[in-house]
Amino acid sequence: MSLPIRKKEKLIEVLMMCCSFVTVLTTIGIILILTLEAIKFFAEVPISDFLTDTQWTPLFSDKHFGILPLLSGTLLTTTIAIVVAVPLGLIIAVYLNEYASPRFTAVVKPILEVLAAIPTVVYGFFALQFVTPLLQKIIPGLNGFNALSPGLVMGIMIIPYITSLSEDALRAVPRSLREASYGMGATKFQTAFKVMIPAASSGIIVSIILAVSRALGETMIVAIAAGQEPKLTFNPMESVETITTYIVQVSMGDVPQDSLEYKTIFAAGLTLFVFTFILNNISFFVRKRFQNKYE
C-alpha cells in the first residue's frame, strides 16, 4: 500500500496500543508503590512484629504494629457476609434456574442485580440506622457498633454476585445432562444438587471467589457501622476495624506524611492487595480452564 497510508495506519495502531498499556502501568504502579513504601515501613518495624503482635495501635502513644486485629476484623466481617450470601445466593440461583418460570427469572434477576448497583454508603446507612437497631432488639446488650450488622448487610449486597454468576454457570450446563436426570425419574431437587451443581461447579466456585474478594475490599459499610476499634476478636458483637477502614481513617486524619504512622497504610494495603490479588488470579484461571469444558 502507499506509504502515507501505511504510516498513518501504523501510527494509529501504536497510539491504541499505548492506551491499552495504561492498564499495565496501573498494575505496576500499584505494586511498586505498595511494595516500596511497605519496605520503608518494615525497615522500622520488624515483619515478625507485624505478623504476630496482637495489637494495632499506631496512632496511640504505646505503639503496636500487629496486623492481626485488622486481619481479624476483615475476616470476621467477610465471613459473616459469605455465610449469608453463599447459601442464599446459591439457593436462589438454583430456584431461578430449575424451578422458576423464565418470565419470573427475567423479572427477578435484574431486580437482584439492583442490589449490586446500590452505592455502599447507602448500605452503610442502612446497616447503622435500620439493621443495628433491629438486631439490638433481638440481641440485648448489642453494641451500637458491631461487626454483625455490617457483615449481614455486606452479605445482602453480595448475593447478586453469587446468584448471577452461578445462574449463568447452571444455564451453561448442556440440556442433555438435565434431561438424562429427569429421564431417570429424578426430581428437580435431586437433579439440581446431584447433577447440575457439580457440573457447574467451576462457575460457582468462581462466583464465590469473586464474592469473597469483593467482601474483603469493602470499606464504607464497615466504616459507618462497625466502629473503628481494631481488636483481635472473632466475636461479631464487638466493634472492629478492617484493613480498609483503617486506611481511610488515617487518610482522613492529619498524620504527617512521612511518619511511620503514615507508612502503616502501605503495609496494611499491601497485605490486603496480596489477598485479593491471589484470589482474583485463582478465579481467572479457574474460569479460563473450564470455559471450554462443554464446547
Binding site: M16, M17, L34, I91
Partner: protein, 287 residues
C-alpha cells in the same frame, strides 16, 4: 418400584421449592425494606433548599449544593480522561490484538484490576497524583484516580460490544478496499456504539457511588464552597452522606437519608438508561 423413596424425594423437592422461593422473595423484600426505610426517613427533607444550600453546622440549613457540584465536576473530568483511553484500548485489544502472550497478559491484568479494592486505587492516587505529581487533593487528582478505577469497566464493555459486531460487516468493508482503520472507525465502532455507550453509563454509575478512594486522596468531608476549577478541593454526594451519617444528631440522619434518595435516583436512572440502550442496540445488531 420403591414408592416410599419416590414420595420422599417428592417431598424434599416441594420443601426445597418453597424454601427457595421464600429466600428469593426475602432478598427482594430486603431491597424493598431498604428503599422504604430510607424514603420514609428522608423524603420530607427534600425541597429546593436542600438542593441549593451549602453544608452547614445546622442540619436544617444544610444542603447538597457543593456535593452535587463537586460530584458533577468530578464526573466530567473523570469521563474525559477515562473515555478515550478506555475505548481505544478496548478497540485495540479486540480488533487489533493478535492471540499472543502479550494479549493474554493484558487480559489477565485487566481482570485483576477489576477486582482490586477501591481503597487501593485511593492509595495509588494519593501517592502518584496527589504527591508525586503535585496535584494536591484536587478535583483533577480525584478524576485521575477514578478514571483508573473505572477503566477496566469501559475496556471490557467496549471489547464485548466489538465482539458482537458480525464479521460479515467487516468482510463487506474490506471487500470494497477499505483499510483496517477505515473499517474499524467507519463500520465496527459505529456498529458497536450501543454496547460501548452502555458500558460508559455503567462506569459512570459506578464512579458516582465511589467514596473510599476519594476519601483517601483527600476529598474533604466538609466543603462550604463550590469548586471552580480542576485544582480546587471538593466533596461529593456520597462523601456528604457519609459525613452526615457519622453525626449523632437525628436531623443529620434525616439529611443523610434525603441525600441518599437523590443519589439512588441518579444511580437508578443511569442504570435504567444503560439497560434500555443495551436492549435497543442488541436488537439492532442481531438482525
Amino acid at each position: 418400584m420403591n414408592t416410599r423413596n419416590y414420595s420422599r424425594g417428592k417431598l424434599t423437592d416441594k420443601v426445597f421449592k418453597y424454601t427457595a422461593l421464600t429466600f428469593t422473595l426475602f432478598a427482594l423484600a430486603i431491597l424493598v425494606i431498604l428503599l422504604v426505610d430510607i424514603f420514609s426517613k428522608g423524603l420530607a427533607r427534600i425541597n429546593w433548599d436542600f438542593f441549593r444550600n451549602l453544608p452547614s453546622r445546622h442540619a436544617n440549613r444544610s444542603g447538597i449544593m457543593t456535593a452535587m457540584a463537586g460530584m458533577l465536576s468530578l464526573l466530567f473530568f473523570t469521563i474525559i480522561i477515562a473515555l478515550p483511553i478506555g475505548i481505544l484500548a478496548g478497540v485495540y485489544l479486540q480488533e487489533y490484538g493478535k492471540k499472543n502472550r502479550f494479549a493474554s497478559f493484558i487480559e489477565i491484568n485487566i481482570a485483576n484490576l477489576a477486582g482490586v479494592p477501591s481503597v487501593i486505587y485511593g492509595i495509588l492516587g494519593l501517592t502518584l497524583f496527589v504527591r508525586i505529581l503535585h496535584m494536591g487533593n484536587s478535583l483533577i487528582a480525584g478524576a485521575f484516580t477514578l478514571a483508573l478505577l473505572i477503566m477496566p469497566i469501559i475496556i471490557v464493555a467496549t471489547r464485548e460490544a466489538i465482539k458482537a459486531v458480525p464479521n460479515s460487516l467487516r468482510e463487506a468493508s474490506y471487500g470494497m478496499g477499505a483499510t483496517k482503520w477505515q473499517t474499524t472507525s467507519k463500520v465496527v465502532i459505529p456498529s458497536a456504539l450501543g454496547g460501548i455507550l452502555t458500558g460508559i453509563i455503567l462506569a459512570i454509575s459506578r464512579a458516582i457511588g465511589e467514596t473510599a478512594p476519594l476519601l483517601v486522596i483527600g476529598a474533604l468531608v466538609y466543603v462550604p464552597f463550590i469548586p471552580e476549577g480542576p485544582n480546587d478541593q471538593f466533596t461529593t454526594l456520597p462523601i456528604q452522606i457519609f459525613n452526615w451519617t457519622s453525626r449523632p444528631q437525628a436531623d443529620f440522619i434525616i439529611n443523610a437519608a434525603a441525600g441518599i434518595i437523590v443519589l439512588l435516583l441518579i444511580t437508578f436512572l443511569l442504570n435504567g438508561i444503560a439497560i434500555y440502550i443495551r436492549n435497543k442496540w442488541y436488537k439492532k445488531i442481531k438482525y
